[in-house]
């Protein structure tokens, strides 16, 4: 997808000029120019703050006094946030401290998402590199595998397996880990293919180096940075999918909380204490939106793109 801002043949100089067309010499103070370029976009800053808050919650919750995600206290049940000094974010239907549960849930959900993404990245990059580097039948086989993979509805698959083995966190991680690797594979395959015939890859082979060595030393480093970018943008998607599964009861099992399962439990009390469902949702929103905003710095996503004008693109 092209994102032209001006037609190619116009050589509009990007370098600021020392003389203007009338010949007068003008110089902008260097400081002002530099500042214009270095400022981080407000989205990036906002996103980082949001992510920071969630990470703080996940990592730091256990350190707070009164941390108790499992202890029930029916007499203190259904407290709203900021009403009870002992329970900053209130309590749920069984009197459990919401702050503690949210903290643990964040930790758990993020941990699962991370595990899935790592699995996806490893499998996808590995298969993709192999397919791109070796080509031939291996490539066809892996590509077919990827096509079949794409053609299967994952949620249903997980439901099917869960019907057999019973739901669990491990199952969810394994299923998601084994089904969302195609994006990584595609990118690493293309990269490996384009690098395969470059001199710096051929040379060590002619000198007697093995394929494994070449892949490790030359292909992998190039692929790695791309993989990181995909992973960064992917983790948000995985969190959303994972939460949906947990909402359906297919993830980590109670009493261990997760965002999805907390929302499911809280849904029953929407009329009386909506906070039970809303709080985990807010935390999830902060995470995913934060991840989206920060990752926009590295991807081409955003609000560029041509608009229809007479002379061609805007």
């Amino acid at each position: 997808m092209t994102q032209q801002l001006l037609p190619n043949e116009l050589a509009v100089p990007a370098v600021p000029s020392a003389t203007d067309p009338q010949g007068k010499v003008r110089r902008r103070p260097a400081a002002a120019r530099g500042k214009r370029r270095a400022a981080a976009s407000p989205a990036f800053v906002a996103g980082s703050v949001m992510l920071g808050l969630v990470l703080l919650l996940a990592a730091g919750g256990a350190l707070l006094p009164g941390y108790d995600p499992f202890g029930q206290n029916l007499s203190a049940a259904m407290r709203k946030p900021f009403t009870d000094p002992e329970h900053l974010l209130g309590t749920d239907s069984l009197g459990r401290d919401m702050l503690s549960r949210l903290s643990l849930a964040s930790f758990v959900t993020l941990g699962i998402a991370l595990a899935v993404v790592i699995l996806n990245a490893v499998i996808g990059t590995g298969l993709g590199m192999a397919a791109g580097y070796f080509g031939g039948r291996l490539d066809s086989a892996i590509t077919t595998l990827a096509d079949v993979n794409l053609a299967m509805p994952v949620v249903l698959l997980l439901i099917a397996v869960a019907a057999v083995t019973g739901p669990s966190a491990t199952l969810t991680i394994a299923t998601l880990g084994l089904t969302y690797w195609v994006g990584y594979a595609r990118v690493s395959r293309n990269l490996a293919r384009s690098l395969r015939h470059r001199d710096f890859v051929l040379a060590p082979l002619t000198q007697g180096g093995g394929h494994g060595w070449v892949i490790r030393k030359h292909i992998l480093p190039n692929v790695f940075s791309q993989t990181l970018i995909i992973a960064a943008t992917d983790i948000a998607t995985i969190i959303l999918i994972e939460s949906s599964l947990e909402y359906l009861g297919l993830g980590v099992q109670p009493p261990v909380p997760s965002w999805g399962s907390m929302i499911f439990e809280g849904q029953k009390y929407l009329g009386t204490n909506p906070w039970l469902a809303i709080l985990p949702g807010i935390v999830m929103f902060l995470t995913v939106a934060g991840a989206q905003f920060t990752s926009q710095r590295f991807t081409a996503e955003g609000t560029t793109g041509a608009l229809l004008r007479k002379g061609r693109a805007a």
Binding site: P16, T19, D20, R26, R309, K310, A313
Partner: protein, 352 residues
């Protein structure tokens, strides 16, 4: 137009086109002036970046966004196009003003049949034609530009046509309503050499039949020699010389023109080094004060007027008739403080 208008068909007067730059507006086209007369082929010559494409895009009001006309007039049959509202311009485009672009592959919609795109051109300015009439017109247009089997070809897609054929289709599209002025922006540059001549023939024939004047943009002087009646040479957004084609080649008035001519490889240069004008044109934002060509000019080094004052395009007196009695017309203009110094011979190292 009920009033008979006498005067040049197109008169570009002091046209300046700007774009916003880091330190204020940058003049991509700087005070360009020339006239195009009825029925003539007017060549606009220059290197890439000289502003020739922008000039003609301005005539059609198809400048890219961010680029606009800062000042000047574009008089077409007496009306200033620069002041016309868009609705009026739309009426002129495709009917009185038409354009053929450089790359016919990208200039055609790849997902529509060629015939349909031609039909669109026809229907835009001829209401009341039914399907059959439109189709017939399309086939006639294609036949007129020498496309074999027009009916069959019209039903096919651009990628199924060869480059030369595609350009013929573009010409057919542009000539659909016999425009008064046809602008051809490097019409053969993207084509094979063998096909170039054919397309130029088609172009010449089409415009002759329609009685259109043509502005031909090119950097190929050979093409200019063959096809043009009059020429304007552009350098760094300015017109540096206008002349009829014979005079341009026999006695160029501007040193840049002389340099261009000298760099054409021809007889007498075999075995020696090819000549090229040293240096390269300035970036639009860094045009020097005074003459833009001065830094590279072989007669302007060390001359104060050239570095301090920008030369204005001035009409030159008609030179004396040639030895064989051929008269030269007036109407030659050059933007040089020392126009007419026998530059061509100087470059070739021959005595003046």
């Amino acid at each position: 137009m009920s009033i008979t208008y006498s005067g040049p068909l197109l008169s570009v007067q002091d046209l300046t086109i700007e774009v916003a730059g880091d330190d204020g507006p940058v003049r991509l086209v700087d005070g360009v002036t020339f006239d195009v007369h009825q029925d003539e082929v007017f060549a606009l010559v220059g290197e890439s970046g000289s502003g020739k494409s922008l000039t003609v895009l301005a005539i059609m009001d198809l400048l890219p966004p961010g680029v606009q006309i800062a000042s000047g007039r574009i008089l077409f049959r007496g009306r200033d196009l620069a002041q016309l509202p868009e609705a009026e311009m739309r009426r002129l485009r495709g009917k009185d003003l038409a354009m053929v672009f450089q790359d016919p592959m990208s200039a055609l919609n790849p997902l529509q049949r060629v015939g349909r795109q031609l039909a669109e051109a026809v229907k835009l300015h001829a209401s009341g034609l039914n399907r059959k009439q439109t189709a017939d017109k399309v086939h006639n247009l294609l036949a007129a530009v020498g496309v074999p089997d027009p009916k069959g070809r019209a039903a096919s897609y651009p990628h199924q046509w060869s480059g030369g054929m595609r350009q013929r289709a573009m010409i057919a599209m542009a000539m659909a309503h016999d425009p008064g002025l046809l602008i051809a922006d490097e019409p053969t540059t993207a084509l094979d050499v063998t096909v170039q001549a054919q397309v130029m023939d088609v172009l010449a024939e089409a415009r002759r039949r329609a009685g259109s004047a043509m502005i031909l943009i090119t950097h190929d002087l050979g093409l200019v020699a063959e096809a043009a009646d009059r020429v304007a040479v552009m350098y760094s957004g300015r017109v540096v010389e206008t002349s009829d084609v014979h005079q341009l080649f026999s006695s160029p008035a501007h040193p840049y023109t002389a340099g261009l001519l000298a760099s054409i490889l021809g007889e007498g240069t075999a075995g020696g080094r090819a000549f090229a004008i040293p240096g390269s044109p300035p970036a639009a934002a860094e045009r020097p004060i005074g003459c833009a060509f001065q830094p590279r000019c072989h007669i302007g080094s060390g001359r104060d007027e050239c570095t301090s004052a920008r030369p204005v395009l001035t009409l030159l007196p008609a030179p004396p008739s040639d030895a064989d009695g051929t008269e030269h017309s007036a109407g030659r203009a050059a933007a040089c403080h020392f126009a007419g110094e026998s530059t061509l011979h100087l470059l070739k190292g021959q005595p003046a």
